[in-house]
């Protein structure tokens, strides 16, 4: 077909352009290859697509993922796996269909070697078939839909963050041991992520021996006022509440939970309800004492975290990174470790995929991190943090390690 021919020639042209770019930066490439001791000299910079939600209400999440990724890259002399890199950033505006267009552009026009990012679960699910048939690896650094690690998994899809199941499950045993054993209520918005996180929590909580009293699922996105749901919870007199709410909903739920007096008698803990910092700031004293799980905390004492924090501050100024910045950082490191194992040579894609799949265990700012080769999803630490007012500002302070968690897979 004509189509195939034109594509080919276009590809050649682009390849030549890539070579030209590499020649212009020969000294850098030289130093790098000799340092890495590579036999083959990479022909061009590694092309990394970043598909992120950068506009709209979730814009800050996408931005944080990107900042974390860039921080890792800058910590490593702007290289991954010894190769120079080139970024192509696209904003999906939080919409799956737009994301598909942008993915098409990254793959067919920018000819990227790998794509990272993805904020939203529905965007990730929409992209799944695309990356599967385009045969380009996608490293997800946030979107947590369970099914991409279960029935809808793909050899081309890797995760550097977590699944919703893991987020919920991380709180189960701790909740049973430290908060309440019976008649615990759950509250989460009635959409996929809310249901999956609650399901994860209940699985782990019941496995520990706990009993659930009831579940409350306020509608997603259409509620600005939780009073009727809070009255319902109050009427049932549960011993404690586990909750998950994203962004603006977290602010409203946690504040109203306190304002309507529930916090005085019914302990509230959960996942992502006091994150990230702007959410916690908006909640203020209403969040005091709330425990929640996260895959990273600023106070983690390890060398890598110290470097991460220092570089992040140098690049973006004061202000603590969010946990999203940490998972963005994880994504970059996962890619780097995999690339190093093949000396940055992605010319053989099957080998590149094997390297990603078998990237194994490594130390990250968030502690030890293993990519489970069965699910291509991390086995990683979750930490308990508590919202407190310290040093003149509201912070989620690290309390303890909740344990290491994985997704059961299919």
């Amino acid at each position: 077909m004509d189509d195939a021919e034109t594509t080919l020639t276009r590809r050649e042209v682009l390849e030549r352009a890539g070579v030209a770019a590499a020649i212009m930066s020969v000294p850098a490439v030289d130093r790098l290859t000799s340092a890495a001791g590579a036999a083959t000299r990479p022909a061009r910079a590694l092309r990394i697509g970043q598909l992120l939600t950068l506009s709209g209400p979730l814009g800050s999440v996408g931005l944080d993922l990107q900042k974390g990724f860039v921080t890792y890259v800058r910590q490593n002399a702007s290289r991954l796996g010894g190769r120079k890199i080139q970024f192509f950033v696209e904003d999906d505006a939080g919409d799956p269909r737009t994301a598909l267009q942008k993915a098409e552009r990254l793959v067919s026009e920018r000819e990227v070697d790998v794509v990272t990012g993805v904020v939203l679960s529905n965007v990730a699910i929409a992209l799944r078939d695309f990356f599967h048939s385009a045969k380009v690896p996608l490293i997800i650094s946030n979107a947590a839909a369970d099914e991409l690690t279960r029935g809808e998994s793909s050899p081309y899809i890797f995760r550097a963050a977590y699944t919703n199941y893991m987020i919920g499950a991380s709180m189960g045993r701790w909740f049973y041991r430290n908060i309440a054993k019976n008649n615990v209520f759950t509250a989460a918005p009635n959409y996929s992520a809310g249901q999956e996180i609650v399901a994860g929590f209940i699985t782990a909580f019941e496995r520990a021996g706990g009993k659930i009293g009831g579940r409350v699922f306020p509608p997603f996105g259409t509620v600005s006022d939780y009073q009727p749901f809070l009255s319902q919870i109050q009427g049932e007199r549960p011993s404690a509440v586990f909750a998950f709410f994203p962004g603006a909903e977290a602010i409203r739920f946690v504040r109203q939970y306190s304002e309507f007096g529930l916090k005085r008698t019914i302990p509230l803990h959960g996942a992502f309800i006091t994150d990230p910092a702007p959410v916690l700031n908006a909640q203020g004293s209403a969040a005091q004492g709330i425990g929640s799980s996260a895959v990273w905390a600023a106070e983690l004492q390890n060398q890598r975290n110290a470097r991460f924090l220092a570089t992040y501050e140098r690049l973006y100024g004061k202000g603590e990174p969010s946990t999203f910045a940490a998972t963005g950082h994880n994504a970059a490191q996962l890619l780097d470790v995999a690339l190093r194992s093949i000396k940055g040579d992605t010319s053989n894609q099957a080998r590149f995929l094997r390297a990603l799949k078998n990237v194994g265990t490594f130390q990250t700012p968030s502690g030890i991190f293993t990519l489970d080769p069965k699910t291509q999803n991390p086995i990683r630490n979750f930490y308990l943090r508590q919202a407190r007012f310290e040093d003149g500002k509201w912070q989620n302070k690290l309390l303890s390690l909740l344990g290491s968690f994985r997704d059961p897979g299919r």
Partner: protein
Amino acid sequence: MRALAPGRAARLVQLALVALLAMAPLLLGDFRLFLLTEILIFGLFAASLDLLVGYTGLLSLGHAAYLGVGSYATALIAIHLTDNVFAGIAAAVLSSGVVAAATGWLAVRTRGVYFLMLTLAFAQLLFTLAITWDSLTHGANGLPTPKPTLGPGDGGGALDGGTAFYYYALVAFLIGFGLLRAIVASPFGRTLVGIRENEARMRSLGYGVARYRLAVFCIAGAVAGFAGSLTVQHSNYMSPSGISFEVSTLALIAVIIGGRATLVGAVLGSAFVFIIRDELSSAFNEHWRLVLGVVFIGVVYLLPRGLSGLPARTGLLSRRIQTTAGGSA
């Protein structure tokens, strides 16, 4: 009112445009072709909205509802019954037409802002239904669907690859668009314009205004459903965000930017919106909404007849139906 036959120049321009579209796969790379396919499909959707906004003076802020119904119908047929494109399209057109009739029955009794808000309400109710009816729609996570096929039964004549799908979408677009043009040029279409311009007069002439309104609402809904079907067949995915407020708003903006009551303007406007969002987004980062807003304001100020009014000004294209700028709000 004179219904002018399209002038010779206009016919030449049309032919040239269709020829250009037919040759597009030779001229464009994979991504641009993908984008063009999206523009054609969204353009058909926007053109169906133009039938309401431009020709009938009914400002709908919830047209995505019918696009969404068509999308879900196609997605569900593809998952549970057959990948065949025609089955998907039939289901989409039928179901969106029925839903348009059920909701339009109520909506066409209202005017102006009330109509605007009722259409918005129906779209939001369907949006919420799509999110909450998890067993059918798979909730907010959405439904991935199999690749469509042209042949009978599953797997035969798969529409694989960008070029094959582009030609399929182009033919579908031309059929849908041709249908809309035929409707607009028919006595029915001229009655609609008459109702828009002077409802009382049409009423006194014995036209059943409400019936006409309902009929055009159903037609617009069915064509939107058709576009919805194509959308799913192209992206192989449907989720509630396909019914969102933003989709309805963008279609409305496309109609206004392109030029009301021209049909072709809606397609041009769609191209414009997509290009601003997807091509300029690298230049303006995530601030494409700002750019779109500025352009939109500029068009409302300077080009009340939209982009497609430009050639009319220079006499290149003769308008089939001369329209005044403002419908009734």
